[in-house]
Symmetry: C2
Subunit: 265 residues, 2 copies
């Protein structure tokens, strides 16, 4: 009955490429007999699965340089398939036990749930809402860089939404904590899933009344104001960037947001 099903090939949590540079797929026969399988959905009329690797070493919760390169090579459709699969598989690897009672859990509902046989708790894949925000002051845009970013790369500030907050409150708190600015007129622009490990990036725009930065150096290496001309030059310079700025890559929501800002008005 499974002859049409496809199995996503993964190297741990990393993608595996076929000869044409797309994601490599196999059949269910490629999975280990005792492998936990996650149902990813239907693609081209075929049910697709991904195997949960052994162990619970998932690596750090951000994309390493190798992953950034790999993501730049995948089509948008492949990136969506891979991202969803990676989020789910990573979650399973880190949730083999019940957080409520400590007993082992079992995969259920095609991998969209784990059940505890001891206390009957049900556990569901986690998606963490993160705000990522443009801050404008008099025609300039605030971007910052985290210490692990490649040289000259600046992006939009970002941070997790905390329990008890609205999206708009989270934006204002993050900008104040990281850059010391008060913002107003917070406005939703776009959203995007981000699979490191499983975030919902909620992209917003906001306005600061002044441009005096107080940078939180535990979070940011640097933050500064960019003119539209600087951003346009960096985007035009592509992957090499300019002397002062590497523009965010096209698969990152920061690219969408900054481009939206450059095109507005």
């Amino acid at each position: 009955m499974n002859w049409k099903a496809r199995l996503l090939k993964m190297d741990g949590l990393d993608p595996v490429f076929d000869d044409a540079g797309g994601l490599q797929w196999g059949t269910l026969a490629d999975a280990a007999p005792d492998a936990e399988l996650v149902f990813l959905g239907m693609l081209d009329g075929k049910p697709c699965f991904a195997p949960v690797p052994d162990g619970n070493e998932t690596g750090p919760p951000f994309a390493n340089p190798r992953m950034w390169n790999a993501m730049g090579m995948l089509s948008a459709a492949d990136l969506a398939s891979y991202g969803g699969a990676r989020s789910l598989v990573d979650w399973h690897m880190r949730h083999r036990f019940c957080a409520r009672c400590g007993s082992p859990t079992q995969l259920a509902k095609g991998g969209w749930q784990r059940d505890c046989g001891a206390c009957n708790a049900q556990h569901f894949p986690r998606t963490d809402p993160v705000t990522i925000m443009l801050v404008e002051h008099e025609g300039r845009l605030l971007l910052g860089r985290q210490p692990r970013f490649p040289a000259r790369m600046y992006s939009a500030l970002a941070g997790f939404v905390e329990p008890g907050e609205t999206i708009e409150e989270a934006v204002a708190r993050e900008v104040h904590e990281e850059a010391g600015l008060r913002v107003r007129d917070v406005r939703y622009i776009a959203s995007q899933p981000w699979p490191f490990p499983s975030q919902l990036m909620i992209g917003c725009y906001s306005v600061a009344d002044d441009d005096q930065l107080t940078i939180d150096k535990t979070e940011l290496d640097d933050a500064r104001w960019f003119t539209r001309e600087e951003l346009e030059a960096a985007r035009a310079a592509g992957k090499e960037g300019t002397d002062t700025l590497l523009f965010p890559q096209s698969f990152a929501i920061a690219h969408t947001l900054v481009t939206w800002w450059m095109n507005k008005e």
Copy 2:
């Protein structure tokens, strides 16, 4: 040093009222010596804490009728304090063990983290993004009712954002799954935290091209189209509602969204 600190009184996870109908606060001396304390933030210049109750019985993940009554009595400020506290405390109760290795975890960072001493995993409070959406077709609004709702109560459809989805994709998927409709022009309206147990409600508006409903009876008891006049009559009728509709209560984001729709144009 703690003489100014305040401790939120809770009955399990339920609020405790003072004589004026507000939240009841005590001092740290009221906490059991071995109680885990969660730092809620500063309120009126005083640090505020909530104790994590013993055990791991947190009840079902929605507000029961007693809670709906209680929430209707609290001011907006008290509701925000209580909601944030309840989300955090509930998370601690359900995360006393490490999901990665099964060992006991310890509260850290004032209750905004739990650490595993065995495998060194760090665990953070969970916030689940949920889309809640208005669907319009030619001047009428789609609302639905879950089986556990009080009689005549209808509200906006809602569902969790899944790994790998945008907000807009989640809205379209949920409306199709629950009501059989295809929607377009999805637009963000407002967000609100919801502490049962810890959701970020992301309120959206969308447009359906037809009005033929196919209701998923495992999710919904009923769903139907309402005219602006029906909604206005129900809102004007207050807590009693009309013969056909109880309008969503003011502390629910559905109230904000439906009111936004009634006022638009």
